[in-house]
């Protein structure tokens, strides 16, 4: 039985758009709208979607960098944005993050030893040789030698810096790691090293990951569950296997088709036409309808918001057209 580490329930985050010189901002950016999902223990949950779909805003709320407008994130029996005192300390220990660009997330004037030791000093009060030993152990966990401890971030390549960032995130034995595009900034030959390392660490430490990535091949390789977001809404949520073998939402199908396949015998396909709708004034009804290949110009898609429902066991989708499609499939 899967144990949830983190439950996101009806999460909504609206921002007020910056106003111009003459008018104060009254526009609302619907960055995240009523998003719910669960991250289970020792699994990877991937959020995918185009830029501006709200993936990063979800992680910001998770990391308590933003307060939700509505809804809640539950960690055990506690609500994350209401935490304080020791509970908050415990949450900040248990949830760590690794970002796309490891260089900008490290102080260039600190040695690797200090970078990795900082959370240990602050949270666990480690000092002296106990601290050094623990840092060495962490560095060796991520495949770096002990000599790395006395160097500065600029003395490492991108891949090694990402290893340092992972060591720092691991220092406090977290339960959940937010991985925001962890390999996009790395060379192709280095990506496999980091992806393999992340999988090894997950198995070894029973870590859960929230993976944000635009690369659907990497998501397929890494994740157990996949959620697809479009203009602030979750439009599909399922196990990885179901998502890749039987994507239901037309947007998911388009996203999958748009990935250029490294096989010259397969034809090029465009996937989705048009561009992402604005989150300030999202389309009525289904937010995807202006780009949807099966939208016929009238009807429910434009008039009403599709329900978030379970179309197949454990496979949720928000699309007016999905149910009819399943019936047709059954009738054959």
């Amino acid at each position: 039985m899967a144990h949830p580490v983190l439950q996101v329930e009806g999460l909504t985050k609206h921002y007020r758009a910056a106003g111009s010189f003459f008018a104060s901002g009254t526009d609302i950016v619907h960055a995240v709208d009523n998003v719910s999902f669960t991250i289970d223990e020792a699994t990877t949950f991937a959020l995918v979607g185009e830029s501006g779909c709200g993936k990063t805003t979800v992680t910001k709320v998770l990391l308590r960098l933003e307060q939700p407008t509505a809804g809640a994130v539950r960690f055990g029996d506690k609500i994350v944005h209401e935490l304080s005192g020791n509970d908050l300390r415990e949450y900040k220990r248990a949830v760590q993050a690794v970002f796309q660009d490891p260089y900008s997330s490290m102080n260039p004037r600190m040695r690797v030893l200090e970078i990795v030791a900082e959370p240990l000093r602050v949270h666990q009060g480690l000092r002296g040789s106990a601290l050094c030993d623990r840092v060495e152990e962490l560095l060796s966990d991520v495949g770096l030698s002990a000599t790395a401890a006395s160097l500065y971030p600029h003395q490492f390549s991108g891949g090694q810096r990402q290893r340092i960032a992972i060591a720092r995130a691991l220092a406090l034995k977290p339960r959940l790691m937010v991985l925001d595009e962890p390999v996009s900034g790395l060379d192709v030959s280095i990506r496999a090293q980091i992806l393999n390392l992340l999988i090894d660490l997950q198995i070894e430490h029973g870590l859960s990951y929230l993976l944000i990535s635009h690369d659907l091949a990497i998501v397929e390789h890494m994740s157990h569950m996949v959620g697809v977001m479009y203009v602030g809404k979750l439009v599909e949520l399922s196990s990885k296997d179901d998502f890749y073998s039987n994507p239901l939402h037309p947007y998911s199908k388009g996203l999958l088709a748009a990935v250029p396949h490294p096989d010259p015998d397969l034809p090029m396909s465009v996937g989705v036409t048009g561009e992402v709708a604005s989150a300030i004034d999202p389309p009525t009804g289904c937010r995807f309808h202006p780009r949807c290949p099966i939208y016929q110009g009238t009807g429910a898609c434009r008039a009403s918001e599709p329900l978030w429902r379970e179309a197949l066991t454990g496979h949720r989708v928000a699309c007016h057209k999905v149910e009819p499609m399943l019936e047709i499939a059954d009738a054959r």
Partner: protein
């Protein structure tokens, strides 16, 4: 002494009649400072035929962008110079041409699309002004004919409502639309060669797919040759007819696109293909190329890939492998292929 193989006969290709549009021969571009030189491009040779799409694949620092800048005569001077080799474009060696004459090629017959559309557009000029510039300079169009050509260029790259859009500024365009504007500028003079240097890195997959199809369709319609510079093997497979794999400033393997993907010869090419996750195929564990791409100021002796190569022989550590022909124009630089 570099042991790279440069063709000894550098006879200029025949004019126009030939289907070879571009022939780069033994190109060496070095970064030169007071006390040392960095061999960013170290003996690169390849050809681009008319209407052909050629990929240059490599990691950062492999010299793919510097190769393209050398073709265009746009290497940052002083400090970065083409020290040897030729770039034959339709019978002229661009390396030897004076700047004034080079300008009649650059932007007119050879166009380039850079990685970041934000920095290749001027924020204080309208889109119309910027697309008009190459048409005005190279095709000498003015007035109504100029506006007509600008509208045609914007329409060709799929920008909706071009009459309204040409009065707008770059910040009013999305990333995908900006890249289309840059493509419109490049293609407006109907160049014979388009160099696309990682043109989709900053785009979403959906917008990337639209852009790739756009360029490929325009290429097929107009017979333009394209050089795709990329590290994305998916783009290579979908867009290129021929592929040159670069590592540490040299082309280590060159072959048709099917051959590169189905029968890769060089251990680096094979390792690259094995290390990327592929949608729809479950790999238990990704193949991991150990170490990292070498920096050009610390190249190992011999074949620069040997420290990361799982098949390295003794000779690999001593001498750069000569070119081993694999039929037609295909070749590989690897001692395993020689012996």
């Amino acid at each position: 002494m570099s042991a790279s193989v440069i063709p000894s006969t550098s006879r200029p290709p025949r004019r126009s009649k030939s289907d070879v549009l571009l022939r780069v021969e033994g190109l060496k571009t070095y970064f030169i400072s007071r006390n040392r030189q960095l061999k960013a491009v170290d003996g690169v040779s390849f050809t681009v035929r008319r209407g052909e799409a050629v990929g240059i694949v490599g990691e950062s620092g492999s010299g793919k962008s510097v190769t393209c800048l050398s073709i265009m005569g746009l290497t940052p001077t002083p400090g970065c110079e083409v020290v040897a080799g030729s770039v034959w474009f339709d019978g002229e060696d661009l390396v030897k041409l004076p700047e004034r004459q080079l300008r009649s090629f650059r932007g007119r017959r050879i166009a380039m699309i850079m990685q970041d559309p934000q920095t290749s557009l001027n924020p204080v000029l309208t889109i119309g002004d910027q697309v008009a510039e190459p048409i005005r300079l190279h095709l000498k169009k003015v007035g109504a004919a100029l506006i007509e050509a600008v509208l045609a260029a914007l329409t060709a790259v799929g920008i909706p409502q071009p009459e309204r859009r040409l009065k707008q500024y770059p910040h009013q365009f999305s990333g995908g639309m900006r890249q289309r504007v840059v493509a419109a500028m490049g293609l407006s003079t109907h160049p014979e060669l388009l160099i696309a240097d990682e043109p989709t890195t900053s785009l979403d997959v959906t917008i990337q797919a639209q852009f790739l199809k756009l360029i490929r369709d325009l290429q097929r319609q107009s017979g333009t040759s394209v050089i795709w510079v990329t590290h994305d093997l998916g783009i290579v497979a979908q867009c290129c007819d021929r592929v040159n794999v670069m590592y540490a400033g040299r082309i280590v393997e060159s072959a048709g696109v099917r051959k590169i993907f189905k029968e890769p010869q060089h251990p680096y090419t094979r390792a690259l293909l094995a290390s990327v996750p592929v949608k729809g195929t479950r790999k238990e564990r990704l193949y991991q190329i150990e170490g990292q791409p070498p920096s050009v100021d610390q190249l190992p002796e011999g074949c620069p890939f040997w420290p990361r190569c799982s098949h390295a022989l003794d000779i690999c550590r001593e001498q750069y492998p000569p070119q081993a022909s694999k039929g037609g124009d295909d070749f590989v630089h690897c001692w395993l292929a020689v012996t």
